[in-house]
């Protein structure tokens, strides 16, 4: 009996391996480089950090580093793809590292990049205090510093050339104006994390420009999607006046859609960021829009700008941040964006 089980497990493992390998051959063609490291973090940590060496090429003596606080979620994987594409475009080595919200790891990696003689370093400032000394060391070593994604309030103090990103408040403002145009009167700003400053800022930005009432609530984690849907439905039934929902992530608009059906309400739904299902719903007109901060630019532009500064002494931005959003995806452009999302660049 026990032997039978072992055999069974072995058989299963074998099937899985075969399935995985077979698939690898089929899908990896369009990608410029082979992402074989993606499976490696399985043994490391709950949400693994990863370092990807991109496309070593001859003929370029500069190496650039992009060191973020990013995890391996939908959002940051697009940044990573962009970094890789930019590296291919300029023909230089670019090292991407996502520290998964670990400021200490990020700082260590920045110091390692300085020691490696980097020609330009781009970092995200999710925890400005945590990486401050490392960032100052970059400037002290005479290496061009750029900030991306988060850090719009701190990049100047650190001596970075410019910041490439979107301010959450401006993105929220944009969503508020959309809701005004769509005729909503009371919007629920649904958050998928309870203590995330960026998400709060999106909701605050919404409240700044939106003409009606805004209720901002935490509705459950992305890890518990059933709870998100039912909590939104409960809030809708608890307050009959809510006629719009802004989900400040890519999953929440879909949960709000189901919750609206459950509560029997016709809602104007907006979202943040992109996913295939979300774009499908936008295409069908069930979700009105989603705010896209176009993070591809946040990966692509710093590499290009660092390369231009290293080779041509250009400094972009003029002391101001370069905003990558908010861009909007709505019924008008959903079909086009959809194709790009499945390529992993939107």
């Amino acid at each position: 009996m026990r032997k039978l089980w072992k055999l069974f497990a072995l058989l299963l493992a074998f099937t899985l391996v075969v399935a995985a390998c077979g698939n690898d051959d089929d899908t990896s063609e369009p990608a410029p480089s082979e992402p074989t490291e993606a499976a490696a973090p399985a043994t490391e940590a709950p949400a693994p950090t990863e370092a990807v060496e991109v496309d070593p090429t001859d003929g370029c003596d500069h190496t650039y580093h992009v060191i973020t606080h990013g995890d391996s979620g939908t959002f940051w994987s697009v940044v990573e793809v962009a970094v890789r594409a930019a590296a291919a475009a300029i023909g230089c080595d670019v090292v991407y590292f996502g520290s998964n919200n670990d400021a200490l790891r990020q700082a260590q990696e920045i110091e390692a990049a300085i020691a490696a003689g980097s020609s330009g370093i781009a970092i995200s400032l999710a925890d400005p205090a945590g990486v401050q000394s490392a960032a100052e060391a970059v400037v002290a070593a005479g290496i061009p510093l750029y900030t991306l994604n988060s850090g719009v309030n701190n990049y100047k103090d650190l001596g970075a050339t410019t910041h490439i990103g979107q301010t959450e408040t401006v993105a929220g403002n944009g969503a508020g104006e959309r809701f005004n145009a769509l005729g909503a009167t009371h919007v629920l700003c649904a958050r998928q994390e309870q203590t995330n400053v960026a998400l709060e800022e999106r909701c605050n930005g919404l409240a700044e420009t939106f003409g009606g009432q805004v209720t901002s609530e935490f509705v459950g984690l992305d890890a518990t999607p059933d709870e998100q849907q039912n909590t939104i439905a409960a809030i809708l039934q608890g307050d009959e006046s809510i006629d719009g929902v802004l989900g400040v992530g890519p999953n929440l608009p879909l949960r709000a859609l189901a919750a609206g059906e459950q509560a029997g309400r016709d809602l104007i739904i907006g979202g943040f960021d992109l996913s295939s299902d979300l774009i499908d719903q936008i295409e069908q007109g069930n979700v009105a829009f989603t705010v896209d901060q176009q993070q591809y630019l946040q990966g692509y532009l710093p590499v290009i700008l660092m390369h231009l500064q290293a080779t041509n002494l250009n400094t972009a931005g003029g002391g101001l941040p370069i905003l990558t959003g908010p861009g909007f995806v709505d019924t008008a452009n959903a079909a086009d964006v959809k194709a790009l999302v499945s390529e992993g660049t939107r």
């Binding site: 089980w5 069974f8 497990a9 299963l12 099937t15 899985l16 399935a19 995985a20 077979g22 698939n23 089929d26 899908t27 990608a31 992402p35 993606a38 499976a39 490696a40 973090p41 399985a42 043994t43 490391e44 709950p46 949400a47 693994p48 391996s72 979620g73 939908t74 994987s77 309870q194 209720t215 609530e217 935490f218 509705v219 459950g220 984690l221 992305d222 890890a223 518990t224 999607p225 059933d226 709870e227 039912n230 909590t231 939104i232 439905a233 409960a234 809030i235 039934q237 608890g238 999953n251 059906e261 459950q262 509560a263 029997g264 309400r265 996913s275 295939s276 299902d277 499945s342 992993g344």
Partner: protein, 742 residues
């Protein structure tokens, strides 16, 4: 304390009954020593709280909402509770739910477009099950072979699963979401199974409320009869005159009730209400006279118990406090109470925190009793809580808590003086007064009609129970095991199976999905079997001198109450259907959750495997030496948990259609918490499957309830934590008290 009374029946056996191991415990006391009692009380309290503060919470839609949250949690919490009783943990259980969902989508979704393996779901779904079972087997075997704590082993599996989920998802799709389940081959078939749901709006039944009320009343009556049967000693020969009195009382009560429903005037309501109540009391008194030995008065305790005075004073203070609160606070003020933003509130917060610290230090030094720091914490909590609730809400909550506390304290005092029955009668009069008070001042229909009726019914029940206790003598020994039960059970089983099969064939012809058909068939077969059993129980009660009928009656009573509630939840009247736009649905997850809870309880209580679970959890080596296959039991439990994780994963996958790689991560602690709230010990060997299910429902009610009540979600975990703590403390206290008394 009251169990040892002298009766003719057991006079010659009374001396061994002095031994505490043989002492018979009354039905209420048996209930109080159950592991899930704290969760049960907590669930009722939480339900009442949210029912009072929010309109949609008590409706079928609200129930569907929190049951859905509870189901996804409870599908796992029930097997996790079994595993915990077996003495082990499975930390990989949470990420396992997401892993099976991700695997199915990756194996099945289209290769070119979405980056999956492109297998048919007919292959992918069973494959994911074998994967889950293999991981369960791996966990169990590793724990058994190495004797390492399961905490460590499954922590390893937990990390591996999280990493593998993410790694494979990104490898296949280049994203963290596995998407496009609905584009897979065989989707229709499997979606019919895991995506099926009972849509209430589609099931119109205009006479539903009659069935609901009828089943509820029958259930309540049978439940009361069963409890009395368990509690009181039977006569040798029934007193026919008593039956006659009881029949007359029942007739009067029924006529009064029908007229009460039929007439609509305020004056006539009064009259018919009193007639109904009197009829019920007469019926109960007659029934007790007819069936049970007459009670002998216990002499009042002669020795002076100093704690009686303490309880008396505390009880009076609580009641006076409740009345003061009702009188002083504004009942129509729906502003937030909000002490927090003003200076007094902040001072209170500061004083509370300071006092907690100082008192905690003093308590640690042994200068004050350990209860005192809690007072400081309460002071600190008041401003925070005040920010969440309205003035009228605070009034209702404070009044309710103080009044219930006062009644409980006074009843303890009364019981110690041998005046329990008198006090219960007084309480029921008090509740009647309260009911009319609520009716006179409340403005919502919910309070004016529903709460009013509920309070009157509670008063009636209390009065009836006091009557019964005055008339009938208590049992001194446990009732004998059932004699006629098996025959009725066999007939019921045969008829039930037949009905189930017929239903299955009819349902399958409709092709609503295989699992759905099976569940419906089981439900219908179950109802038929239940009806046969109920009729047999009725026969045993009325026409035999079978002393074992009490448990059957309790079972029938609970069953028909459940059926009544189910009828109300599952069917809609055409009137309601016209008035609502909301869609209320009960997914397959909810049905499976309820089935799991019942199955889990049955396995634990009635099967050999259940005994093995308790044995290996209590002491593995000892159980092994008496012949329990300990390793196999534990491995089976681990595989049970991962199989449930597979079911949960399928329900999630077919609902969402696309699954993010981190779905389910971190939920393993919720399962464990919920099981502990339901009465499981972290050390194993003790616990309850039903308790874990109730714990899951509490969690669901709190998360949804905060939304329904439109409370600020920032305070969500404060509410959750406080309520969980209260449930566990109540559990502990009640059980220790109940076991002490024995």
């Amino acid at each position: 304390m009251a169990e040892v009374t002298t009766t003719n029946d057991s006079a010659d056996r009374s001396s061994p009954a002095q031994d505490e191991r043989l002492a018979h415990r009354g039905p209420v006391q048996q209930l109080l020593t159950r592991p899930e009692i704290g969760a049960l009380i907590g669930a009722v309290g939480v339900w009442l709280l949210f029912w009072l503060v929010s309109a949609p919470f008590g409706t079928a839609g609200g129930t569907a909402n929190y049951l859905d949250v509870a189901a996804i949690l409870g599908l796992m919490a029930v097997p996790v509770a079994l595993l915990m009783i077996g003495g082990e943990f499975d930390l990989s259980s949470g990420s396992m739910t997401g892993a099976t969902a991700v695997i199915v989508i990756l194996l099945s979704s289209d290769t070119a477009e979405l980056g999956g393996a492109g297998l048919s779901l007919h292959l992918a779904v069973p494959l994911s099950l074998t994967f889950a079972l293999a991981i369960g087997w791996f966990n169990g075997t590793l724990v058994d072979k190495t004797s390492l704590p399961s905490f460590i082993v499954t922590l390893g599996t937990f990390f591996i699963l999280i990493g593998a989920k993410l790694g494979f998802t990104k490898l296949f799709t280049n994203k963290v979401i596995a998407e496009g389940l609905d584009k897979s081959g065989g989707y229709e078939f499997w979606n019919n199974i895991f995506g099926a749901s009972w849509i209430r709006n589609g099931h119109v039944w205009d006479n539903r409320d009659w069935a609901w009320a009828g089943l509820l009343i029958i259930g309540a009556v049978v439940l009361i009869l069963g409890t009395m049967e368990l509690a009181y000693a039977r006569r040798e020969n029934p007193n026919m005159g008593g039956y006659l009195v009881s029949a007359i009382g029942t007739a009067v009560g029924a006529i009064g009730f029908i007229l009460l429903l039929d007439q609509d005037g305020v004056g006539s309501n009064w009259v018919f209400g009193i007639i109904t109540g009197a009829g019920v009391l007469v019926a109960v008194a007659g029934w007790c006279l007819a069936r049970y030995q007459p009670a002998e008065r216990e002499p009042a305790p002669t020795e002076h118990d100093p704690r009686v005075v303490k309880f008396l004073i505390a009880g009076v203070v609580a009641i006076v406090g409740a009345i003061l609160i009702a009188a002083v606070m504004d009942s129509n003020n729906s502003d937030r109470l909000d002490f927090l933003t003003g200076t007094p509130g902040r001072a209170m917060l500061a004083i509370g925190i300071g006092a907690t610290g100082v008192l905690a230090v003093l308590a640690a030094l042994g200068r004050v009793s350990v209860g005192y720091p809690a007072i400081g914490a309460l002071i600190a909590l008041v401003p925070a809580v005040s920010y969440m609730i309205t003035v009228q809400g605070a009034r209702a909550i404070l009044f309710g808590v103080l009044a219930i506390a006062g009644v409980v304290l006074l009843s303890i005092a009364a019981r110690r003086r041998g005046l329990a029955e008198l006090f219960t009668l007084l309480t029921s009069v008090g509740i009647v007064i309260l009911a009319f008070f609520v009716r006179s001042e409340a403005d919502s229909r919910k309070l004016r009609v529903e709460l009013f009726t509920a309070l009157l019914l509670i008063a009636l029940l209390l009065a009836a129970s006091a009557f019964a206790r005055l008339i009938a003598a208590r049992r001194s020994s446990a009732p004998p095991p059932p004699v006629h039960g098996p025959l009725a059970r066999q007939i019921g089983t045969v008829l039930g199976l037949a009905a189930g099969l017929v239903s299955l064939i009819l349902e399958l012809a409709d092709s609503d999905g295989v699992l759905y058909s099976i569940i419906m068939a089981v439900a219908k077969g179950g109802i038929v079997a239940f009806a046969v059993f109920a009729l047999a129980t009725l026969y045993r009660t009325l026409f035999t001198h079978d002393e074992s009928v009490g448990r059957s009656l309790v079972f029938v009573g609970l069953g028909s109450v459940m059926l009544g509630i189910a009828a109300k939840l599952m069917f809609i009247t055409s009137e309601e259907a016209a008035a609502t736009q909301a869609t209320t649905r009960f997914g397959v997850g909810v049905m499976l959750f309820l089935a799991f809870a019942v199955l889990g309880a049955w396995v634990l209580a009635r099967t050999q495997f259940g005994n093995w679970i308790f044995a290996v959890g209590g002491n593995k080596e000892a159980s092994r030496s008496v012949g329990v296959p300990a390793a196999r039991t534990k491995t089976t439990l681990f595989m049970l948990v991962s199989a449930s994780a597979w079911i949960t994963g399928m329900v999630i996958a077919f609902r969402l259609n696309s699954v993010q790689a981190n779905v389910g991560d971190g939920n393993e602690f919720r399962y464990i918490i919920v099981a502990v709230v339901g009465g499981c010990l972290l050390t194993g060997g003790y616990g309850s499957a039903i308790g874990a299910a109730i714990g899951a429902v509490i969690w669901g009610m709190i998360t949804s309830g905060i939304g329904f009540a439109t409370w600020n979600s920032d305070w969500r975990f404060l509410v959750l934590g406080a309520l969980l703590l209260v449930a566990v403390l109540v559990n502990n206290y009640v059980r220790s008290q109940a076991e002490k008394v024995r």
